[in-house]
Every structure is written in structure tokens, then in C-alpha cells.
């Protein structure tokens, strides 16, 4: 993300040396993706209003729906994890606790994103 940094920062070699620009950019990229994905998600849920288990399962098993659902859950956990890290940084001022919470949130976000993707695959590939 060096292109978002002030050229003077590179020239003088000063700056926080952290990864704020990358974090900020990924929060925006996932937000843009989530605009479309959230609208799709809500519309699909509304269309399932009268569906029983078998027909809801069949709707999600369609190739595009399965792909979009994996995209949605991946972007969602990525975005949530980035956002929660900022919230934790703002309110938790005990260094070890702050660090531990951020790591814990990241690990669970990855685990849950994998679990969602596998669940969708299982639905999509079921006989």
C-alpha cells in the first residue's frame, strides 16, 4: 500500500512503520464488496420466506448462490475482524490484553470463515 503514503515519508524514512494504510485499504475494499454482497444476501433470504428445508437447501446449492455465499461470508469475517481490531485498540489500554484480544478475534474470524465455506461446499456438493 506504499502508494497511499506521503512521498515525504519514504524520502525522509520517517513514519510509524506500521501497517495502517494496508488496514484502512482492506477495510474499504471489503466494504465495497459487502455493499453488493449484503444486498444479494438480504434479497435471497427474503425470497426464501416460504421455503422449507429442502427448497432452501436447493436454492443455496445453485452454483452462483453457493459462490456468492462463500464470497459474502469471507468478506464479512475479514471486514468484521479488521473493524473489531480498531475498536479493541481504542478501548483496551492494557498492552497484553489488547494484543491477545486482537489475535483471538483474528483466529476466530479465520476459523468461522473456513467453517462457513465448508458448510456451503457441503450444501452445494450434496447429492
Amino acid at each position: 500500500m506504499s502508494r497511499f503514503r506521503n512521498p515525504a515519508r519514504r524520502a525522509i524514512g520517517l513514519g510509524s512503520a506500521k501497517s495502517g494504510a494496508q488496514h484502512w485499504w482492506m477495510q474499504r475494499m471489503t466494504a465495497v464488496a459487502l455493499i453488493a454482497l449484503c444486498i444479494w444476501f438480504v434479497v435471497m433470504l427474503l425470497s426464501m420466506l416460504h421455503a422449507d428445508y429442502a427448497s432452501a437447501h436447493a436454492v443455496l446449492a445453485r452454483p452462483w448462490n453457493a459462490a456468492l455465499m462463500i464470497a459474502f461470508t469471507s468478506a464479512m469475517f475479514w471486514h468484521a475482524q479488521l473493524g473489531l481490531a480498531v475498536v479493541i485498540e481504542d478501548y483496551v489500554h492494557t498492552r497484553w490484553l489488547e494484543f491477545s484480544l486482537i489475535v483471538l478475534v483474528k483466529l476466530f474470524a479465520v476459523l468461522f470463515a473456513i467453517a462457513c465455506a465448508l458448510a456451503v461446499l457441503r450444501i452445494a456438493l450434496a447429492g
Binding site: Y53, A80, V87, A119
Partner: protein, 130 residues
């Protein structure tokens, strides 16, 4: 904080309420609420993948009184965070920073999100006829 004797800004005790601060706080609050809501998406997908037996428990929860209240809350949280998030992204491009524009877009996010929530649940309550 260093005791400089200078006035603090914002001075919480005498700060006038403004829509800008409400939307800012609400964006964070709805972001946290939606992060908790991700667990419901996880549960729903896991239940659907597990089979009809597990799905019944999920369905029973989201159609219970507590479940419905949570679902209505999450609907508004998502609609507000979505509208205000789009506002955030437009402001990131440098748009809308004049104070009157900032106030107007803030109210717009609040009102549109409430209208969308109302429209979704009115449609659901009528059994989805459209």
C-alpha cells in the same frame, strides 16, 4: 492527561447533540452488533449443512419472539451500517464535507435505513406478496 488548564474539546458535559455524532457512534455500535450477528450466519449455514434435524433448531430460534426481535434489530443494524458505510466511502473520496451536506447525509442514512427496515418487515408480515 496533562493538566494544562485549557478547555477540553469535546466538552462532554456541555456538548450540543448533533446528528454527526449520532451517526458516528451508531456506525461503531452497529458494526459491533453485526460482528455478533455473523455467528447467526455461521449457525444457519452449519445447520443447513448438517441436515433437516439441525435446521429445525435454527428455524425455531429465528422464528421465536426473542429471535424475531433480534432479527429486526439486525435488519436495522445492517441497513444503517450499509447506508452510513456508503456515506463513509463517498466521504473518503472527498465528497460532502461542507457542514450542511454532512448533516443532510447523516439524516439521510438514518431515515433511509429506518425506511428500508420498515419496508422489509412490512413485506415479510404481509407474507411476501409483491
Amino acid at each position: 492527561m496533562a493538566q494544562t488548564g485549557r478547555p477540553l474539546s469535546p466538552h462532554i458535559g456541555i456538548y450540543r447533540w448533533q446528528v454527526q455524532m449520532a451517526t458516528s457512534i451508531l456506525h461503531r455500535a452497529t458494526g459491533i452488533a453485526l460482528s455478533i450477528g455473523t455467528l447467526l450466519v455461521l449457525w444457519g449455514l452449519m445447520a443447513m449443512a448438517s441436515g433437516a434435524g439441525a435446521w429445525i433448531h435454527f428455524e425455531a430460534f429465528i422464528t421465536s419472539i426473542v429471535g424475531l426481535i433480534l432479527m429486526i434489530g439486525w435488519t436495522w443494524a445492517l441497513m444503517f451500517h450499509l447506508c452510513n458505510g456508503i456515506r463513509h466511502l463517498l466521504q473518503d473520496t472527498g465528497m460532502g464535507y461542507e457542514i450542511p451536506q454532512f448533516v443532510r447525509s447523516g439524516w439521510l442514512a438514518v431515515i433511509v435505513s429506518l425506511a428500508l427496515t420498515l419496508a422489509i418487515w412490512a413485506w415479510l408480515a404481509m407474507g411476501g406478496v409483491a
